[in-house]
């Protein structure tokens, strides 16, 4: 069976859920080989084994993380040359998408971004993605080279399948050109203690309607075990950090449940949340476009509705 290269999405060895999802998808089309770049493999090892990595390529040299994107693309190009994989899967993060772009040019391969499903079709892999702010679903195929696919988080349910991966340390000659962009500082963001936005099963977002008070949004999120998101209007006003922005120029989320509070539902916001399974909105304007999308909506003031809902959910929990 052909190898399928999976670029591990992790932060210092803390493996993100997308990696398990990619390994699951990789098992459908071949034998998953995880490519682990950076520090922290000891912490990641167990997760990679649990989700079926048959092999792990380890690239721990600092050259891969001290420079932007290009060295990792060279590493993967080298592995593609050596292993002729059935596909290369990477997460749909900014960094990994750019690795995919460079890898495509280096290896003469087509690239498909933001896959929500991958299956073997009659003529190669059939990749499903959602386009035009969720208004269309398309199936795409790579016709040239090795299919390079970026996988959207929270789309392919992860399934365990224990394996004992063979480990191989890889080093590549990283070219001077690939070292040209230097990462000169890296500051970790403060952790909120809540689930990460792209991985969370539930997201509660606040918009301009919060008037800057995210208290009720956060309280509701906490009782639901949810991540907190924000509209661009709320971010631009300085009420919530940009890393929480949902939408075209923020993160794109696909949770089981998305709750929009005090958000009108502009097309750029929809682009980042329209693939959520269930959508709920609270807005005091009955005409707000967000209500066109909802499974359930409440017209009214979020400052009374959210606290009441929070209490009721708390009570139901007993």
């Amino acid at each position: 069976m052909s190898e399928v290269l999976v670029l591990v999405d992790h932060v210092d060895g803390d493996v993100r859920k997308t990696t398990a999802e990619m390994l699951t998808a990789a098992r459908r089309i071949g034998e998953p080989s995880a490519v682990f770049v950076g520090q922290g493999y000891a912490a990641a090892k167990e997760d990679l084994a649990r989700f079926g990595a048959a092999k792990v390529y380890l690239a721990e040299d600092a050259v891969y993380t001290d420079h932007l994107v290009a060295p990792v693309a060279e590493l993967l190009a080298d592995l593609v040359g050596r292993t002729s994989p059935a596909a290369v899967l990477v997460a749909s993060t900014n960094d990994a998408k750019e690795v995919a772009g460079r890898l495509a040019i280096k290896t003469g391969s087509g690239v498909i971004t933001d896959a929500v499903d991958i299956a073997t079709g009659d003529a190669g892999l059939r990749v499903t993605k959602s386009v035009f702010a969720g208004s269309y679903t398309v199936a795409a195929q790579v016709g040239t080279g090795t299919p390079i696919i970026t996988v959207k988080p929270n789309s392919i349910p992860a399934e365990e399948s224990a394996a004992t991966p063979a480990e191989e340390t890889v080093t590549t000659e990283v070219s001077e050109a690939a070292r040209a962009a230097r990462v000169t500082s890296r500051t970790a963001k403060e952790k909120s203690g809540r689930p990460s936005l792209t991985e969370a099963a539930i997201v509660v977002s606040g918009g301009r309607g919060t008037g800057g008070d995210f208290g009720p949004v956060e309280a509701f999120a906490d009782v639901l075990g949810a991540a907190v998101g924000a509209s661009r209007a709320a971010v631009d006003a300085g009420w919530y950090p940009h890393s929480h922005q949902v939408g075209q120029t923020g993160v794109s989320v696909s949770p089981q449940l998305y709750i929009a509070a005090g958000i009108s539902g502009a097309i750029q916001h929809r682009a980042g949340m329209q693939t959520a399974k269930t959508i709920v909105a609270v807005n005091k304007d009955a005409e707000a476009p967000i209500f066109e999308l909802v499974d359930f909506g409440v017209v009214g003031d979020l400052f009374t509705i959210l606290p009441q809902a929070t209490d009721k959910v708390q009570q139901n929990k007993g």
Binding site: L68, G110, H242
Partner: protein
């Protein structure tokens, strides 16, 4: 300082976007415009030359109507435009587009900085800038939410979910900018009048030394096989709060086993 800004002409997201019979993006049936996200790149280029000296060239690869993207950029203050126009380009994927852009940037001559938006609002791939850097053999300094250029050197702030990074490189470089970086200006009346006299060159594939077989739908390395309009969401239940709205919401979630 010579800056080339890559700008794309895209179907308006407010319109009814869809596909042609060959499953390429419909660029005729919906009004198009300069991709909003590329306005940030034009603005940043203008700020750089206004603070020092230099010239801003806007470059677009697209159909006849893509001239409107150049026009808007010139109205904002860019100095000249280049429109790569060739029927053979229609249906190109990111790989093909980046090839044409790379050859066009080369033809522009001595370029210090290639600026792009963070994504095109139709394809939303965010891969063209990286592909362009790869093809041109230039450093890639992308997703800039802050940018400083001085003394032949560029430095940016790049954010992701876990980190905030500083990335630096020597010029020339390919830099993409986010919508956090600035507030794009509106064209002034003076700008609109001045734009009419600014030079716009139109280049064909042959002008770039490229062959029709290298681009377009037939040469695309990845292609769409099937498209389906997503079924409209079933109109959900919307209740008006008369004191029990929050409880109704909690009950709905309980009913769906979501809370």
């Amino acid at each position: 300082m010579n800056i080339v800004v890559c700008v794309k002409y895209v179907p308006d997201a407010q319109g009814d976007r869809g596909f042609e019979s060959d499953r390429t993006t419909d660029r005729e049936g919906v009004d198009g415009l300069l991709s909003e996200l590329d306005e940030y790149a034009v603005e940043e280029a203008l700020k750089i030359v206004e603070a020092g000296e230099g010239e801003v060239t806007v470059l677009t690869v697209g159909p006849d109507d893509a001239a409107t993207a150049i026009k808007k950029s010139l109205q904002m203050g860019a100095h000249k435009g280049v429109h790569v126009l060739d029927d053979a380009i229609a249906g190109s994927d990111a790989v093909g587009t980046s090839l044409v852009l790379a050859e066009a940037v080369r033809k522009c001559g001595d370029v210090d900085l290639v600026l792009t938006g963070l994504a095109s609002t139709d394809g939303v791939m965010s891969v063209v800038p990286a592909m362009l850097a790869e093809r041109l053999g230039l450093p890639q300094v992308t997703f800039a939410s802050e940018l400083t250029v001085d003394g032949g050197h560029v430095s940016i702030r790049r954010d992701n979910e876990a980190f905030s990074e500083t990335v630096e490189a020597d010029l020339p470089a390919v830099v993409s900018v986010t919508d956090q970086i600035n507030e794009p200006r509106y064209p002034s009346f003076k700008g609109i009048m001045a734009a009419k006299k600014k030079p716009v060159e139109t280049w064909s594939l042959a002008d770039l030394g490229l062959d029709a077989s290298q681009v377009g739908l037939d040469a695309a390395w990845a292609r769409v096989e099937d498209t389906q309009a997503r079924p409209p969401r079933e109109a959900g239940e919307v209740v008006t709060d008369e004191g029990q709205g929050g409880e109704a919401l909690a009950d709905f979630l309980a009913g769906r086993r979501l809370a």
